[in-house]
C-alpha cells in the first residue's frame, strides 16, 4: 500500500501525526533563542597582562614576546596578534571556527602557567578572556551618584558587577569612570634626605607595622588561650603615627616626612552620561554566548540590584545591543506573516475555492514549524538567516500541494469519488512532485557543504530550506490527498457574493490565458526575431553591472555611533574633558535625533577590561551616541555620522578622529579594506616604507582613506644610566631603575584592610615633586654602603619619541597601511599596489604582504561563484534524469541567464549592492526559475506524447500551464515583497536578497513564458525536420534505385 493510500485510508492517524509534529515544532519555537546572525564569530581568546609604568617597547620585550613564544605552540592556532601599549599587553589568539573553545582555553592556561615565572616581578598575572576586542558590549549601564560618588567603585563592584558577572555567558563586567580607593603616602624628598631615609625603607616600616601575628597557645589553669598581636591599622590615620627613624635623639614619625591621604586612585578614567559624572558598567559576552539571553538576564536582574544600592545611585541602561536584534527579528517575523497572508490571497485568487485554499495553506505552517524542530535540535537560533529561509520557503512549499490538489480536482470533476480520486490523482503526479522537490534540494543542499564563516550562514539556510521542502513534499503526498478526500466535493455550491466577487477574476484569468496563447503563437512563428530580441535584451541588461557596488554584508542602521577623538599626544585630562563637554553641547543642539551621549576621558584603570581594550589615554575621548529609533528620525545614522566627522574638522585642536556608524559593531559589515602589511623589526625602516607606500597607494585611483596603523609617536623621558658611574658607586641598572620606579610610579607597601576589603597603600613622591625633569635628576639613590648619589650624577634624562603601541602578528612587528576600495576592481588595485611596492627601495629584512577584508570578501565571492556553477550542474543532472533527455533541461536552462539580467537590473535601479545576501538570493533564484521552465516543458512534452504537433502542443501547453507558473511566481514574489519594502530596523540586511529574488524572478518569468516555448520549437522542430529529411532522402534513394533498375 502506497504512502498516500494509507494516508487517505487512515485520516485519524495522518492528521494526528501532523498535529504531533506541529506541537513539537511549537515547543521548539518557544525554546529558541534569538540572535542577529547564526553564530559566525571566529573563536578568539585574549590574554591581557598589565605591567604598570612600562612603556610599549618594555611591554613588548618583557611581556608580549615571552608570552607569544609560549602561546604559539597552542594547537589549532590560526593567527596570533598582539598589541603592546603603555602598561598593557594584549595578545589575541585566533582559532578556526568550530574549534572547541573550552579545550583551547585550558591549553592556553597551561602554556601561561609555564611562562608566568619568567615575567618581570611587577607584572600582574596574565588574564584569559574568552572573547575578542571586536566584540561589542552587550549592555552598557550608566551609574549616576551624588553623595556616594567617592565610594561608587566599591558599591558598583560589590552590588552590580559581581552579580552580573555570575550570569551565564557573561565574559566580563567592567566598571569605568569610578576611581578606586587608595591610601597614598606622599613623600617630601627634601625631608626624606634630611632624615637619611628612603622610600624603600618607609615601605618596609609600613609593612612591618601593618601586621597581625598569631603567637601561639598558652595554658593558664584549666584553660587554653590563644595569643595574638593585632598590629594591622584600624584606620588610615594610624599611618601618620608610624615611627620611621630617629634624628638628633628625636623620633621621626611618618607624618614628618610624608602626607598620608585616604583618597582615590590618581590616574583614572572619567565618564559622563548626558553631562553627569558617574560610572559606566560594561557587560561583555563570551565567545559564542547568546546576546539576547544575556541582555534579558541582565535586565531581569537590574531591578533587584537597584534595591541593594544606596538611594542616590541610579542605574540606567544606555546601550542594549539586544534591543536592535529583537527589533530586527520582530520586524522580520512581521514580514514573514505578511508573506503568509499574500500567499493565501494568491492561492485563493487563482483557485477560487475556499476548501482547496485551506488544504493548500495548511502545508505552510506544518512545513515551516518542522524547521523549528531542526533549529532547536541543532542548537540554532531565530536569526536573519533562519527567518529569511522561512520567508523564502513560504512561496515554495505550496507548489507541491497545488500540483497534487489540481490533479485530484481533475479526477473529481471527471466523476471519481473524492476518496479514490485523492489516491489515484496523487499517484499520477507523485513522481513529478518528488522530482521538482529534488531540483530545489539540488540547489539548497550544496549550501550545507560550504565551510568557513560564510558556511555557517549558508549551512543554516541550506538545511532549513532542504528540510522545509522535504516536509512540504511529504505533506503534499499524505496530508493533501487525505484532506482532499475529506473536504473536496464535486461542483461545490458557491455563495452569491462569492460568485459576484470571483466571476470577474475568473473572466480576467480566462482572457489572460487567451492573450498569452496568442503571444506564444506569434513568438513561435517568429522564432528568429524573438531570439535576436531577447539576446539584445540580455546584453543590454548586463551593462548596468559595472554600476553595482559590492560589499560583504550590508551595514545596518542600529542607531548607534561611536567616536574616538584624539587631541595632541600628552594633552592633560582636564583639557580633554573640557573639549569633550564643548562637543557634547554642540552636538546636542545640532542633532535633535540624539537620545543620549556618553563619553569617557583619561587612562583606564588596570582592572577595567573594557576600557583597556579601547584606545585610551589622557588625550583621548571615547564617545558613544544613541539615537532615537529609525521611525522617529528622518536622517540616517550614516548621514549623521558623516556630518559629525565634518564638525570635528572645524576643531583645530583635534589631531585625529574616527567616527564609526554602527558603534563599532564590526560584524563583517562596513566598507571593505585592502591592507598592506609591512613586517620588520626596525621602527624607522618600517615607518619609512609604510609612509612611502601610503603616499603611493593614495595616488592609485579607486583607493581612498589610506591610513597607517601605527599611531603618532608619544614623547617620553628616558634615563640613560652610565654603567661605569653606576659601578663606581656600587650600583647597577636594576637597583637604580627600581629606585626610579618606586619614586615616580610608587611602591605598594602593604594592604589596608577594612570591612573585608583590601586597599593598596602606595608610597610615592608627592605630586608636586614629580612634575619636572629636575625632580627626576635630584632623586637620591643609595648604595649598599648607605652612600647617596643623585641620579644626575649617574646618567642623563633625555626626551625621546616612541610609538605608543607596538603591533605584532604571528610574532613579527608590523605596520598596516590600510585603504578602502571604491570604484575599482580588486585585481587593478592589487596590481597598482604591487607596482608601488616594486618601486620602493626595500631594506633587506623587511617584507610586505597584501591582505584585508577585501581579499577575504573576494575569496568568498569566488567560492560562491564556483558553488553557483556546481548548483547549476546539479540542477541540470536532476532535470536530465527526470526528463531522460539532454535537450529538455538545456532548453529550461535558458531561463537562468534572464534571472541574472533581472538581478542586475533590479540592483542597479534600486541602487543596492551585490553582497552575501544578494548572492543567497541569486542561488535561490536558480531553483525557482528552473521550476517554471520544468512545468512548461513537461506539459508541452505531454501534449506531444498525446499526439499533438509541435506548435499546437506548445501553444496549448503554454496556455494551460500559465496559471500554475504565474501562481508559483506570484507566491514567491509576494512572499518576498514585505522583505523588500520593510523599513524596520535591520531591513538593510535582507532587503538586497529580496530585491534580487523579486527582480530576477519577475524578469525571468516573463521571458521564460516566451523564450522557453520558442527555443523548444527551435530544438524539437529541428529534430523533426532532420527526421523528415532522412526519410525523404531514403524515399528518394529508393526511387532512384527503382529507376536505375528499370
Amino acid at each position: 500500500m502506497s504512502i498516500y493510500q494509507s494516508a487517505v485510508r487512515k485520516p485519524v492517524m495522518t492528521s494526528l501525526i501532523f498535529i504531533g509534529v506541529v506541537i513539537l515544532g511549537l515547543f521548539s519555537l518557544n525554546k529558541l533563542p534569538v540572535d542577529l546572525l547564526p553564530n559566525i564569530e571566529t573563536n578568539t581568546i585574549m590574554v591581557i597582562t598589565t605591567y604598570d609604568g612600562a612603556s610599549a617597547s618594555d611591554i613588548e620585550t618583557n611581556i608580549t614576546r615571552p608570552l607569544e613564544n609560549s602561546l604559539n605552540t597552542v594547537s589549532n592556532l590560526k593567527n596570533i596578534k598582539s598589541v603592546s601599549r603603555e602598561n598593557r599587553s594584549l595578545i589575541t589568539l585566533e582559532f578556526n571556527y568550530g574549534d572547541n573553545i573550552e579545550e583551547l582555553t585550558n591549553d592556553v592556561r597551561d602554556k601561561l602557567d609555564m611562562v608566568k615565572s619568567f615575567l618581570p616581578e611587577g607584572a600582574k598575572d596574565p588574564i584569559i578572556f574568552k572573547f575578542s576586542t571586536e566584540m561589542i558590549p552587550v549592555i552598557m549601564i550608566a551609574a549616576n551618584a551624588e553623595k556616594s560618588l567617592p565610594a561608587l567603585y566599591k558599591i558598583l563592584d560589590d552590588n552590580v558587577a559581581n552579580p552580573l558577572a555570575r550570569i551565564n555567558g557573561v565574559g566580563s563586567v567592567s566598571i569605568s569612570g569610578a576611581p578606586k580607593r587608595e591610601i597614598q603616602v606622599y613623600i617630601d624628598p627634601m625631608r626624606l634626605e634630611a632624615y637619611h631615609l628612603t622610600i624603600e625603607a618607609i615601605g618596609q616600616y609600613i609593612r612591618m607595622e601593618n601586621i597581625n601575628t598569631p603567637a601561639g597557645n598558652m595554658d593558664i589553669g584549666n584553660e587554653t588561650y590563644a595569643l595574638r598581636v593585632q598590629g594591622e591599622f584600624k584606620n588610615s590615620a594610624e599611618l601618620n603615627k608610624i615611627v620611621v627613624g630617629s634624628a638628633g635623639g628625636k623620633t621621626v614619625y611618618l607624618s614628618d616626612v610624608a602626607v598620608v591621604k585616604d583618597n582615590l586612585e590618581e590616574r583614572t578614567q572619567r565618564t559622563f552620561t548626558n553631562g553627569k559624572p558617574g560610572a559606566t558598567i560594561v557587560v561583555q559576552k563570551q565567545s559564542g554566548a547568546n546576546t539576547v539571553n544575556i541582555a534579558n538576564a541582565v535586565l531581569k536582574a537590574l531591578p533587584g540590584i537597584q534595591k541593594t544600592l544606596p538611594a542616590d545611585v541610579k542605574l540606567n541602561v544606555i546601550v542594549d545591543t539586544s534591543e536592535s536584534i529583537k527589533q530586527t527579528i520582530s520586524g522580520l517575523t512581521e514580514t514573514v506573516l505578511y508573506a503568509f497572508l499574500f500567499v493565501v490571497l494568491v492561492v485563493l485568487f487563482f483557485l477560487g475555492r475556499w476548501r482547496a485554499t485551506v488544504i493548500i495553506i495548511l502545508t505552510i505552517p506544518i512545513s515551516l514549524i518542522t524547521a523549528f524542530i531542526y533549529l532547536y535540535g541543532t542548537g540554532g537560533t531565530l536569526n536573519i538567516i533562519s527567518l529569511s529561509a522561512l520567508s523564502v520557503a513560504i512561496g515554495m512549499v505550496v507548489d507541491d500541494a497545488i500540483v497534487v490538489l489540481e490533479n485530484v480536482t481533475t479526477h473529481i470533476e471527471r466523476g471519481s469519488r473524492p476518496a479514490s480520486a485523492a489516491v489515484h490523482g496523487t499517484n499520477e503526479v507523485a513522481l513529478s512532485v518528488v522530482a521538482s522537490t529534488l531540483t530545489l534540494i539540488a540547489v539548497f543542499f550544496p549550501l550545507t557543504l560550504i565551510t568557513g564563516a560564510a558556511g555557517v550562514m549558508f549551512q543554516q539556510l541550506g538545511w532549513m530550506v532542504t528540510i522545509i521542502m522535504t516536509v512540504s513534499m511529504i505533506c503534499a503526498l499524505t496530508l493533501t490527498p487525505m484532506l482532499s478526500a475529506q473536504l473536496l466535493r464535486l461542483n461545490p455550491k458557491r455563495s452569491k457574493t462569492f460568485t459576484a466577487i470571483y466571476s470577474p477574476i475568473e473572466h480576467f484569468l480566462g482572457s489572460l490565458d487567451n492573450f498569452y496563447a496568442r503571444v506564444v503563437n506569434w513568438a513561435i512563428r517568429h522564432r528568429g526575431l524573438v531570439v535576436i530580441l531577447t539576446t539584445i535584451f540580455f546584453i543590454l541588461s548586463i551593462l548596468p553591472a559595472k554600476f553595482i557596488g559590492t560589499e560583504y554584508i550590508p551595514a545596518q542602521d542600529n542607531g548607534r555611533i561611536a567616536a574616538t577623538i584624539e587631541l595632541p599626544v600628552g594633552t592633560r585630562m582636564e583639557i580633554t574633558q573640557r573639549i569633550a563637554e564643548q562637543l557634547k553641547e554642540l552636538w546636542n543642539k545640532k542633532y535633535p535625533e540624539i537620545d543620549m551621549i556618553n563619553f569617557s576621558v583619561g587612562q583606564a584603570a588596570s582592572s577595567n577590561v573594557w576600557g583597556s581594550l579601547q584606545t585610551n589615554g589622557s588625550n583621548i575621548i571615547s564617545m558613544n551616541f544613541r539615537f532615537l529609533p529609525l521611525s522617529q528620525r528622518s536622517r540616517s545614522m550614516f548621514a549623521i555620522s558623516d556630518s559629525i566627522s565634518n564638525d570635528l574638522k572645524n576643531f583645530p585642536e583635534i589631531s585625529k578622529s574616527k567616527v564609526i556608524a554602527g558603534g563599532g559593531m564590526s560584524m563583517m559589515g562596513g566598507q571593505s579594506s585592502l591592507d598592506v602589511e609591512v613586517y620588520g623589526y626596525d621602527f624607522n625602516q618600517t615607518d619609512k616604507v609604510a609612509k612611502a607606500l601610503a603616499k603611493d597607494i593614495g595616488a592609485i585611483k579607486g583607493l581612498t582613506n589610506v591610513s597607517l596603523s601605527r599611531t603618532d609617536y608619544t614623547p617620553e623621558y628616558q634615563v640613560d644610566f652610565d654603567r661605569e658611574k653606576l659601578a663606581q658607586n656600587g650600583l647597577n641598572i636594576a637597583t637604580a631603575s627600581t629606585y626610579l620606579r618606586n619614586r615616580i610610579n610608587g611602591l605598594t607597601a602593604s594592604l589596608f584592610r577594612e570591612e573585608g576589603e583590601e586597599y593598596t597603600i602606595r608610597v610615592v613622591y608627592g605630586p608636586e615633586y614629580r612634575q619636572s625633569i629636575q625632580a627626576i635628576e635630584d632623586i637620591m639613590i643609595y648604595n649598599n654602603q648607605g652612600q647617596g648619589v643623585r641620579l644626575k650624577d649617574l646618567g642623563k634624562v633625555v626626551e625621546r619619541f616612541t610609538p605608543p603601541t607596538i603591533e605584532r602578528k604571528n610574532r613579527q612587528r608590523l605596520v598596516t597601511v590600510s585603504s578602502t576600495v571604491s570604484g575599482t576592481t580588486i585585481d587593478k588595485a592589487v596590481a597598482g599596489i604591487n607596482a608601488a611596492i616594486d618601486k620602493i627601495d626595500m631594506p633587506q629584512n623587511l617584507y610586505v604582504k597584501i591582505g584585508g577584508t577585501y581579499i577575504d570578501q573576494q575569496d568568498s565571492f569566488k567560492d560562491l561563484l564556483s558553488l553557483l556553477l556546481i548548483i547549476i550542474m546539479l540542477v541540470f543532472i536532476v532535470m536530465a534524469s527526470q526528463f531522460e533527455s539532454l535537450s529538455s533541461p538545456f532548453i529550461i536552462m535558458f531561463t537562468v541567464p534572464f534571472a541574472f539580467s533581472g538581478v542586475i537590473l533590479s540592483l542597479a535601479i534600486t541602487g543596492s549592492t551585490l553582497n552575501m545576501m544578494s548572492f543567497v538570493g541569486m542561488i535561490m533564484l536558480i531553483g525557482i526559475v528552473v521550476k517554471n521552465g520544468i512545468v512548461l516543458v513537461d506539459y508541452i512534452n505531454l501534449n506531444r506524447e498525446r499526439g499533438m504537433g509541435i506548435i499546437r502542443a506548445t501553444v496549448s501547453g503554454g496556455k494551460s500551464r500559465l496559471r500554475p507558473v504565474l501562481m508559483t511566481t506570484l507566491t514567491t514574489i509576494l512572499g518576498m515583497l514585505p522583505l523588500a519594502l520593510s523599513n524596520s530596523e535591520g531591513s538593510e540586511l535582507w532587503k538586497s536578497m529580496a530585491i534580487t529574488v523579486i527582480g530576477g524572478l519577475a524578469v525571468s518569468t516573463l521571458l521564460t513564458l516566451i523564450i522557453v516555448p520558442t527555443i523548444y520549437t527551435i530544438f524539437k522542430g529541428n529534430g523533426v525536420r532532420k527526421q523528415h529529411k532522412k526519410l525523404r532522402r531514403a524515399d528518394a534513394l529508393k526511387l532512384l534505385e527503382a529507376n536505375n533498375a528499370k
Partner: protein
C-alpha cells in the same frame, strides 16, 4: 453460468465491488492495475507520462439471471461520469471445477 469481464478506471473499484455485493455475487478475480484504451472514445489509461491514469479489471462468474441487473447497474454507474470509462462484456462458461 456466464462470466462478466469488467474493465474500468481504478477509481471505480469500490463502487463495482458494492454492485457485486448488492447482487449477492461473492466470487471474482481482479487485476488492480491494467492498461487499456477505448475503441472509440475516452482517454487512454496507460499509466505513462502522457496518460497517467490506469484501469483495473475484474472477472466474475455468475448465474445467468444475475447478468442483467448487474449490467444495468454498471451502465448507470458509467452514465454518472462518462469521462472515467467503464466497460463490461459477457461470455458463456462451458465448464468448471
Amino acid at each position: 453460468m456466464k462470466s462478466i469481464f469488467i474493465a474500468y478506471d481504478q477509481a471505480y473499484h469500490e463502487q463495482i465491488l458494492s454492485i457485486l455485493n448488492f447482487n449477492h455475487v461473492r466470487g471474482f478475480t481482479a487485476w488492480p492495475e491494467v492498461q487499456g484504451k477505448g475503441s472509440k472514445t475516452g482517454e487512454p489509461h496507460l499509466g505513462d507520462h502522457a496518460w497517467p491514469s490506469l484501469n483495473a479489471s475484474l472477472i466474475t462468474i455468475v448465474d445467468d439471471v444475475k447478468v442483467k441487473p448487474i449490467l444495468a447497474q454498471l451502465r448507470d454507474l458509467d452514465e454518472t461520469s462518462k469521462l472515467m470509462g467503464l466497460r463490461a462484456f459477457v461470455w458463456n462458461i462451458e465448464d468448471g471445477i
